[in-house]
């Protein structure tokens, strides 16, 4: 199955996470694409792909800069996502009460349009000083297993 990694970023952490997840997925899967959400049209979402969504949090628990246009287009389009499955990894900072809420804006939209989230909701906390990619790569195998997609060990 084709896998598309989508990311929304403000400070670049989600971009690095998405690239690292993409590289990991390519070890097992032939067709893996990584897109910044600002370069991705919601009309292109298709149940023929499995999606890995990586998204940070900005401001008052808001979407990061590169995800804003995507969300606006998504709301206008309201695409039917029946049969589409995705896993999601959120970045945030538990120092703030809006911790990890950015990605939830996307999660809510996908679910509302009929998509199915699989696996654990992945989260990285900037206050932990863990490297975001370390946490994401620990999270990925479980999510892929839940999706029924193999991952090289």
């Amino acid at each position: 199955m084709k896998i598309t990694v989508l990311y929304g970023t403000e400070s670049g952490n989600s971009e690095l996470v998405a690239e690292d997840l993409g590289a990991k997925l390519r070890e097992t899967h032939d067709d893996v694409e990584v897109f910044d959400l600002q370069d991705f049209d919601p009309a292109d979402l298709t149940p023929n792909h499995f999606y890995v969504v990586v998204c940070s949090t900005h401001g008052e628990g808001d979407l990061p800069n590169t995800a804003i246009d995507f969300a606006e287009k998504f709301d206008v389009l309201q695409p039917d996502l029946t049969g589409l499955r995705y896993a999601i990894f959120g970045l945030g900072d538990s120092f703030y009460d809006t911790y990890s809420q950015g990605s939830e804006h996307l999660d809510r939209r996908f679910t509302a349009q009929g998509a199915e989230r699989v696996g654990e909701y992945g989260r990285h906390d900037a206050s932990s000083w863990d490297l975001p990619s370390d946490i994401a790569l620990e999270w990925l195998p479980g999510a892929m297993e839940a999706a029924g997609l193999a991952l090289a060990g």
Binding site: S11, L16, G59, E60, S127, W129, P132
Partner: protein, 427 residues
């Protein structure tokens, strides 16, 4: 040899602007060799010396940059002052392109009478003392009982938070304990924060204000807030900011013994009063002229270029990052002192695109010799990233209890520790 023809770029400044630029340009030209110069032995610029010591979560962005410096074609060259150790022209000879990511290090002046009185300090200087910046005088100034902060941006709020907090507020920070103890021994009784704007348009992030409100310290009041009706309409940021100001000044908030903080809005400072030592700030308010008593004043109204060989090149903001053929600028050095760390990423991407386009169009021609062609003495004094990691380890291991790091304030000592360890590795 093809390897001779890779683009060789010099970035001056290893703060967020320089790191984001290098990261961005490497995505488009992965073969490029990049040297990031810094006048200090330590990288990361304002992340290390500008972000408040109790905001380690914000400093965690260095985890992203650490990874980037580990790449073989990225070189950190610390302890190199452009202008003193090597001229900008020499660097432009040695590299295909030079990118200024020098930021803005001087406190912007207010330009009103009395600014040179004793007891008037710039926010950058105070912030650097709290962050143990080498080259800043190590002694925290005696600010006295009545401190006035001019400005209402995040830097002003960082300073206010410092003035309000007690020792318990620095767990897992890298605060300068010398500075903290000096202040705790003689803390403020009253702090006045002078905003030029109204509360909704204040420059601070609502999260910064909420953080203040959540601290069990400080008693906040505002003679200027009563006329503001909090509304959920309009901009979410503005609504959140108004809600945070309302929470801070709420009569339900537990009173504490920490300073009384007066939040003033729509005030324009017109003069500092006093003969030798500052005694007050004269302000214009919608109700007329007032004078706020001050034993000291901290101005937090932004930053400007310190005078240097480079300053004339970056004094005024511009749309394009290109200054001349093979010479560019990014970050605050390009767009002025606005925006937090992440905004430098978008800015750097734009400048990286300009550089990549110039490379593709042959405006910049690869073939310059790069770092190896610089003088022996310069290469010898330069601190590598690996040497920095030795200093980094030393700082973390020598941290006092409850601290994540103890920064050294003596730059020679920083350099020696970074170097010594390398010698012992060789032995």
């Amino acid at each position: 040899m093809p390897s001779e023809l890779v683009p060789r770029l010099a970035v001056i400044g290893s703060g967020p602007a320089g790191c984001y630029f290098a990261q961005s340009v490497l995505r488009g030209a992965p073969e490029a060799e990049i040297t990031i110069f810094d006048r200090l032995a330590s990288p990361f610029g304002l992340v290390r010396y500008g972000v408040a010591a109790d905001h380690q979560h914000t400093k965690a962005i260095t985890r992203q940059f650490e990874r980037f410096f580990a790449q073989p074609n990225v070189r950190f060259a610390g302890n190199v002052d452009i202008g003193r150790d090597v001229t900008l022209d020499e660097l432009r000879e040695a590299y295909d392109a030079v990118i200024l990511a020098t930021g803005l290090s001087a406190d912007r002046s207010l330009g009103v009478p009395g600014e040179t009185l004793l007891g008037v300090y710039g926010s950058g200087g105070i912030t650097r003392v709290l962050n143990s910046h080498p080259g800043e005088r190590p002694v925290f100034p005696s600010l006295g009982s009545d401190i006035v902060i001019i400005g209402g941006g995040n830097v002003a709020i960082d300073l206010l938070r410092f003035l309000v907090k007690d020792r318990s507020g620095y767990e897992a920070s890298d605060i300068s304990d010398e500075a903290l103890e000096a202040y705790i021994a003689n803390p403020a009784e009253r702090v006045t924060v002078l905003h030029r704007s109204g509360p909704a348009a204040a420059k601070s992030d609502p999260q910064m204000l909420k953080e203040l409100a959540a601290l069990p310290r400080g008693r906040y009041e505002s003679p200027d807030l009563a006329s503001v009706a909090p509304t959920a309409e309009g901009d979410r940021q503005e609504a959140a900011r108004l809600a945070a100001f309302a929470e801070l000044t709420s009569p339900d908030r537990e009173p504490t013994s920490a300073p009384v903080v007066s939040l003033r809005f729509n005030t324009i400072p017109v003069a500092f009063t006093g003969t030798n030592q500052v005694e007050g700030v004269r302000i214009e308010t919608p109700r007329g002229i007032e004078t706020v008593t001050a034993t000291s004043v901290i101005t937090a109204i932004g930053f400007e270029q310190a005078s240097s060989e480079i300053s004339e090149l970056t004094a005024k903001p511009a749309e394009s990052g290109r200054i001349a053929t093979g010479l560019y600028r990014t970050g605050w050095a390009k767009r002025g002192p606005r925006g937090a760390i992440p905004e430098n990423r978008a800015c750097a991407k734009g400048v990286a695109e300009e550089v990549l386009a110039d490379l593709a169009a042959g405006v910049i021609v690869s073939g310059s010799p790069g770092f190896d062609s610089l003088s022996d003495s310069l290469r010898a004094r330069s601190i590598s990233y690996e040497q920095w990691t030795t200093l980094d380890k030393h700082e973390r291991e020598s941290a006092a209890e409850g601290r994540v790091r103890r920064k050294l304030t003596d730059h020679d000592e920083m350099v020696n520790i970074a170097r010594d360890a390398q010698t012992s590795e060789r032995n």
